[in-house]
């Protein structure tokens, strides 16, 4: 028997984890349900699944396609789509937007190449050239730029789709609800967050949230997140048992409108999301936290995204 097997035999929970989500700055959370963060079982089936639901997700792609000295010129593509689920469970696209653009520190480029870029690329996102000499940090900045533009695109699309939302129709987003005040305040929107770098809880509450059993949710708490600082209500929901994996396995944080109605319906909404576990969102790497319809939107966007015609070296990639 290995030492860790002995440890499990002594009462430790078995695990199989290697890495976790990137840490983000902590956020403040105020409980709006219960006096202390509690664990609530989600109601038994059958869940009340809204007849019509739209799902919003987006993708991003970028790669360095040219060098001007050490200046890295990036080709980027972002896209987002809303797909509505009909009564038969089939998804149909209702809104879709994309943007293909170049990212470059124009002021650091040589005149001829800058001119060539400006003439040939219809959409150029300028970035600061201070980090050009530090390629790794420069690329981190590029990545952040792409994420920011994608988030902006998704927010615009979400706001646009709210206008088309049916009377009983819900909109489920992949990610933060609080990016857009309009979306965050809508009574029939939900955000499903898979990344848990930002920590809202601490102490006993945090432990309860991270060791949440499958089929349970935490008490609802209020968070003020995103750039808009719009307050939303949130809670954790465990979709799959984490034992034998890692603490975040199957853990989703749900965001909904900051309203007493959200607290009242938190269990009902959790039961709905619990029912969305099937079909599995495989082969996505984080299928345990990804709802299949959101995965489907992502696959749809990937299928429609243009291929990057990169000039490749004949040597093997490093």
């Amino acid at each position: 028997m290995n030492w860790w097997q002995a440890l499990v035999a002594a009462g430790a929970v078995p695990a199989n984890a290697g890495r976790s989500d990137e840490a983000e700055p902590g956020e403040h959370a105020d409980l709006v349900e219960d006096s202390e963060l509690q664990v609530h079982p989600i109601p038994e089936p059958p869940p009340r699944i809204p007849k019509t639901v739209s799902f919003l997700n987006g993708i991003e792609r970028w790669s360095v396609v040219a060098y001007d000295g050490v200046v890295q010129v990036v080709n980027a593509y972002i896209a987002a789509a809303v797909r509505r689920r009909d009564a038969g469970g089939v998804l149909h696209t209702t809104c879709e937007r994309s943007r293909a653009f170049a990212i470059a520190p124009l002021e650091r480029m040589s005149a001829p190449l800058r001119q060539a870029l400006e003439q040939s690329a219809p959409d150029v996102e300028r970035v600061d050239g201070d980090l050009v000499e530090q390629p790794a940090r420069y690329l981190e900045m590029v990545e952040a730029t792409v994420r920011r533009t994608r988030a902006h695109l998704e927010r615009e699309l979400a706001e646009q789709s709210l206008a088309n939302l049916g009377a009983d129709e819900w909109l489920v987003l992949d990610g933060l609800l609080s990016r857009s005040p309009a979306v965050a305040r809508h009574p029939r929107t939900l955000g499903a967050i898979k990344s848990h770098g930002a920590q809202f809880l601490e102490g006993r509450g945090l432990e309860r949230a991270l060791t949440l059993p499958a089929g349970h949710r935490t008490s609802v708490f209020a968070v003020r997140g995103g750039h808009t600082r719009t307050e939303v209500y949130s809670w954790y929901l465990r979709l799959w048992p984490w034992e034998g994996n890692d603490l975040l396995y199957g853990l989703v944080r749900v965001e909904a409108r900051a309203d007493a109605e959200t607290v009242r319906r938190a269990s009902e909404l959790s039961a709905w999301l619990w029912a969305e576990r099937a079909p599995l969102a495989t082969p996505a790497t984080r299928w345990d936290r990804l709802l299949y319809p959101l995965h489907h939107v992502e696959e749809y966007l990937k299928a429609r995204a243009p291929r990057f015609p990169a000039v490749r070296s004949r040597l093997p990639a490093a």
């Binding site: 089936p45 059958p46 699944i49 639901v53 689920r85 038969g88 469970g89 089939v90 998804l91 029912a275 969305e276 576990r277 099937a278 079909p279 599995l280 495989t282 082969p283 299949y292 319809p293 489907h296 696959e299």
Partner: protein
Amino acid sequence: MIDKATPIVIGRVVATELKPATPHQFYFWTATDTSIGIGAIVKVGAGSGEPGAERVVYGVVTEGFAYSDLATPLHDVVGAEGDPTRAEDAPTTRQQIRYWTAAVLRQTPEEPLQPVPLGQVYVADDTDVALALRMDGFLHSATPTAIPVGLYTSAGRDSPVYLDADFLLGPEAAHLNISGVSGLATKTSAVEFLLASIFAHFPAHKGRVAALCFNVKGPDLCFLDQPGDLSDEDRRRYERLRVPAEPFKRVQLYAPLKADGVNLNTLRTHPDLVDDVEPLTWGLQEVVDYAEVLLNRDDIDAKADAFIDFLRDRVLGRTFDDGFGTTHRVQTFGDLDRLFRSIFDGLEIASGGRSDTWRTHHIATMRKVRNRLLNISTRCKGLVTDDGPSSDLPWNGFEDRTVYVIDIANVDPLGQDLVFARVVSKLREQLERRELGVDAVVVFVDELNKYAPGDGPDTYVKKMLLDISERGRYLGLVLFGAEQFRSQVHRRVVGNAGTQLFGRMDMDELATPGYQVLTPATKSKLATMPIGELMVRHPHFTQPIFIRFPKPPVLRGRDGVERFPPAADVPFDEAVVRQLVRLDRRVRPNQVKDLIADREQDDVRRALAAARRTRPDDVFAYFRKVLGARVDSESSLARERHVVPPLNPISEEPY
């Protein structure tokens, strides 16, 4: 004839490095809810306005796949938590694909031959079907040769499919073979419909056509002149194919007589129909010409052949001295037996039993030939007459668009072989001489497994079928063969069939090498094919095509015997009366009965056959004249001694 419809986009060609489009095959996907299936004809390219759309490719769907984005089956189990009943509860339907493989039927332009373009896929309309199957060449030419074979009904279409008469009935190619399991009436029905279609559409410039069918099973082909029940859908199909939905107007049914020599050996003996049945009886001359048929493999040797040739050339129909003082004129089996007895007696008496040859022929050879020849008159009594003239098909007067049916269902297998061999040989002879009366004859033979098996001895019948298959198209002698197991029929017989039809097939049969060119989906469709549907292979079609044909406009055999129950055999005198009345309505039954009372039945049969053959104005007078004066009892007894003695057909005697 051809409807031009608006193209309907139903899919799109896709190609990957692993599954590229080629000049002969391509892949496409459709919506999950699509009207196409295995056997559907599709068109790629035209109408899309895409680059390369000037190239049009026609294909037939040969395989279909459906799958979802499910990574492994285990993930479905996990999603449903191991409970299959919960699998349906998933609120979102997985993304699915309907992915089809199509084999190219035709490309335009045909040169240069290129891979199928990655364009939109359309359902083929009537015009497309005609082009895809290369029917435009013979459908719209100055001398059209199109014969409707059925309707292409996949993908909600209803397009006529035609065969090229030049490739169905010669001279370019010919013959048709149809396979399928028994009991679904598909094979016989298909041939009946196709014959009706040929009669309706056989091009005038190709002359006259007739069909000759051997009825080898029950009442299958006995009611081709009687109307069957057709549904409105069937009638609509007939209209679409421009084939009259009515039974054959001209049918001649021939059946041998039973052993009594007067009742017909057929199931079409209902009083309302029996008058249309002609007796088929042959005498010695007709049998000796095909004596090889009667000899089994062990019998075939040069000595027997030589002796049969001797009989044929020197004895039959001639005045002949046997060398022992007796002169013979051999015209009947009775005469032949008397000759043999005279020879055997002569050898015994003249040489005291020491000589065993007569005119270089060994006595054992003569005994063997005698037994074989005289055996047939016993085993096939009714078809072969001991003595008396024959009643035969009109070898010089076949009529246009007429079906000749020979009912040999109840005839001894040896007799069936004899009928088969003689009829087909005569057809060939007459067609060679251009004296048959028609330019082409379709010969329908069911149970090819039996007559032309892939293994076993080379019988006369098999050799003859091979000969028709390989050379008949030049003469206009066309074989329509049917069998249950195509793999068990001689390869050259089925291989020479230019057109091949397949009904529902047995899975074991489909597992044989002959079907390896078909995809699993096509085999699966063949194994579950409904009645009235066929897979067609024709020289102009580069891939097998599925079609639907209407129910034949004739009464099916089993329905026929229900509607027209066969009559019981009638007494000898009554049967004679009926046959004479049929020839001449003025004949009075009592007169006939009085005339034939106490007369030898053989004499009556002979007189009856003569009346049938001659068809005089005054039948009764002629019959009375041929029958002659009443023979007294003493003469009658004397004659008894010369009657051919019955031979035991299962005799252990080696010769």
